[in-house]
Amino acid sequence: MSAFSAAFLPTLVRRERASLAATLLAPPVALAAATVVNLELYVLMGRDPVAVAYAMLLEPFLSWASFSEVLLKIGPLLLIAQGLAIGFRAKVFNIGAEGQFILGAIFASAIPVWFPQATGQWIWPVMLLLGTLGGALWASLTAFWRVRLNANEILVSLMLSLVAAQFLNYLLLGPWKDPNGFNFPQSVMFQYDAMVPILISGTRVNVSLLLTIALSIAAWIFMQKSFIGYKLQVGGLAPRAASYAGFNEGWAIWLSLLIGGCAAGLAGAAEVAGPLGQLQRSISTGYGYAAIIVAYLGGLHPIGIIVSALCMAVLYIGGDNAMVSANLPIAAVRVFQGSLLLAYLVAVAFVRYRLEWRRAAYRSQP
């Protein structure tokens, strides 16, 4: 009986040590695997896989217009993922970046909505600051519940995202609805000074991309070089060592959540003050969730995250292309994202474990 199960059920056995090469290879392998699986899925759906692959993976790079859209998408993904990764390294699981992103957008919109006539170059920087503040405030709710009442931050932050989405709906259907907007749930169009200046003319890429890259570098310095980043990592790797050394756990939770909230809030502000130009319901397209995948796919390392954000942005734009040219359903991108995360988790599991078929045990049975 035991010989039977031992022979046919493989078990996961922990490797002595994860090799560096395997660790580095895991994300690209996951990406390749997810691509293959999804292309097969498109074949099953009766689409031409070559056309889909072309539209999805190549077209984004083929014209400057498409590629500039990729650059535009990178912004929020990269920013949110960098913020989240810091928390994840500290084992503080902020799953509610989406809500913090929405609050950032709302806070930033307050100025153009309340002062549509205001002018001056101060407006967009102040909007970005307000957005950052909004995201941080929303995250601080989670931090408070976690530190004070030990409420699980995964659940609290996730549920607060739903609250944030409803709050956005309320504003857009009520007090902040554009009176001349034919009853659409959206705010007034923002004035010129409430928009982040364009970086590359002829595209929608704006100055916030520079900001995002600067903050990525800052995140790298913070996590690899700074003492505070070190303390957060100790708290994540060995909580008892952190309390032995006197690193305050509550403080680490607050900091992790606030950093994540700031980054997501800033991304939200940059979105309304950038490509959208007004507050609309469609700002909430799941960047906050996609960024979780980006963060893990980048190995929670600031440099890796830049690469994974690029991949994810290509996926978004390529997915849009494929929707048009290969008639792919809108859910395809989500499915791709989901399978990508799944493939990555499996790949990571194999970095740490190996499958064992128990051959030896089987043979030695009398």
Partner: protein
């Protein structure tokens, strides 16, 4: 000679550059208790892990019961009849004792609970089967590990330093158990740094040095001194004499401390009082599980007192009961905890980063950034002074052998030149050469005026180190006993609580 139960031929294992085992030949006879001797980092644990299937040898053959064997995993080793108790424990902290055992031993929970109780009583390894593991001290965890291993009825039992944190009474009982098992047909591989133990119980010994076998002997034919010389390749240094000191200032004072932990399985402390002065070493003896972890956490600041409890714990003359660990360190306090993996050190981080854990106030941080050069210099100094055997400061703490990591942590904490040093189990798992070096260092520091508090289960160690000893039993502390005027048997009586009645009488007699 009968055919060996287990025989290894030409076993080698390397970790990158480090050749942990090289061409090892070893025969374990049936019904034999076989010692593996060697310095820290000699490769003892590695060899045991190869036998138990945790790791695979690079080359070499294993013959088990006359048949070639390759074990791919511990589960398989257990099926073959090999059991092992690791040097570093492998219990799940969030589960109870019996749940941990259930993971390895089949059976209903109620039955297992009963068996754990009976086995514990028979073998002198009492633990509460329903207690959660996380509040248990290392000594109690070790008991759980040993019971768990015994319950799998192995034919070969591997014990990697099973007695390092067991008190003498339990060691005696464990040895009775091991002898009984041997007579019942079990072979035992036994690793220990305590040579007297090895002479008492083992009928064969294999000596490892630098990953190679340097000899097979019958330990009963040599005295501990000879064995030590074979192991470390030189003579043992003499203990450091303690200079006479007249009582310095009070560096740590605990006055009538009562503590009721949140965890129902943790030991409540009642009416704890002690004083450690500059230039003095105070020892706390006792069987672990009598409140040692709770007391240690309260002194280190990992646990703080509730708001109402004031004026209970003083360090350098300040009431610190509600200060956290960092604030206490700022006052000149340093601490070596009993568990090194995950508390005293972060196993996944390099030694340099582990230096930073508590040594960061030594100017290792500049403008909020880690000063890598200085941190590395500090780490190198620690490695050199405390003879930590490691490829270098960038090695991961988790890759060091147990004793070497202990040396590193002790080194790091003493290099902070604290006013008050608190060491729990100072020489746990450290080989005799290094242990005597650590004890010499502690006495030197005492002679230079440091106040030192030591918790240990090893009475001999306490007698060598301490000016006075207090015994912790069931969460209460005996009055201080001046070491020179006390016999070990007296401490032993306090340890099992036989002294309680007269102790209260003593207290009353004091003005």
């Amino acid at each position: 000679m009968t055919a060996p139960l287990l025989s290894l031929r030409g076993i080698s294992k390397s970790y990158g550059q480090i050749r942990a085992n090289q061409g090892i030949d070893l025969d374990v006879a049936p019904q034999s208790i076989h010692a593996i001797l060697g310095e820290n980092g000699a490769g003892k644990s590695t060899l045991m892990k190869l036998i138990y299937g945790v790791e695979q040898p690079d080359v070499g053959t294993v013959v088990w019961d006359g048949e070639p064997l390759s074990v791919a995993s511990p589960a398989e080793a257990r099926r073959k009849g090999i059991g092992m108790v690791f040097q570093h424990f492998s219990l799940f902290e969030t589960l109870t004792v019996v749940e941990n055992i259930q993971l390895v031993v089949p059976g209903r929970k109620a039955d297992l609970t009963q068996r754990i109780r009976t086995l514990g009583r028979d073998f002198g390894l009492e633990v509460d089967p329903l207690a959660h593991v996380h509040p248990l001290s290392v000594g109690e965890r070790q008991r759980v590990e040993i019971i768990r291993c015994l319950m799998t009825n192995p034919k070969l039992l591997i014990l990697d330093e099973p007695t390092s944190v067991l008190p003498p009474q339990s060691v005696d009982k464990l040895f009775d158990t091991l002898r009984r098992l041997r007579d019942g047909g079990v072979s035992i591989l036994f690793i220990s740094h305590k040579l007297e133990e090895i002479r008492a119980i083992c009928d064969r010994a294999t000596i490892l040095r630098g990953g190679r076998v340097t000899g097979h002997v019958d330990p009963r034919e040599y005295d501990a001194h000879d064995l030590a010389r074979m192991m470390i390749g030189r003579d043992m240094p003499e203990p450091m004499p303690a200079l006479p000191q007249s009582g310095g200032e009070k560096r740590l004072e605990i006055i009538g401390l009562d503590y009721q932990p949140d965890d129902p399985f943790a030991v409540p402390l009642s009416d704890i009082s002690l004083t450690v002065r500059a230039g003095e070493i105070l020892g706390i003896a006792g069987i672990s599980g009598n409140g040692q972890s709770e007391l240690a956490a309260l002194i280190s600041g990992e646990a703080v007192l509730p708001r109402e409890q004031r004026d209970r714990i003083y360090m350098m003359g300040k009431d610190v009961g509600r200060l956290d660990a960092a604030a206490r360190r700022l006052l000149g306090f340093a601490f070596v905890p009993e568990d090194r993996h995950g508390r005293g050190a972060v196993p996944e981080m390099s030694l340099v980063l582990n230096s930073l854990l508590t040594a960061h106030p030594l100017n290792l941080i500049r403008h909020g950034l880690v000063n890598k050069t200085k941190a590395t210099a500090f780490t190198n100094a620690c490695i050199l002074q405390y003879d930590v055997r490691t490829p270098g400061p960038e090695a991961e703490a988790g890759a060091l052998s147990g004793g070497n990591l202990q040396k590193f942590i002790v080194g790091r904490e003493t290099m902070l030149s604290p006013k008050l040093l608190f060491v729990a189990q100072p020489t746990w798992g450290v080989d005799i050469g290094a242990a005597s070096a650590i004890r010499r260092r502690l006495i030197t520091l005492r002679n230079e005026g440091m106040a030192i508090l030591v918790i240990s289960e090893e009475l001999e160690e306490l007698f060598e180190l301490c000016d006075s000893i207090q015994v912790l039993h069931h969460g209460t502390l005996s009055p201080p006993l001046v070491t020179q005027a006390t016999r070990p048997e007296e401490i032993g009586r306090y340890m099992i609580g036989a002294h309680t009645a007269s102790q209260t009488a003593d207290r009353k007699a004091l003005p």
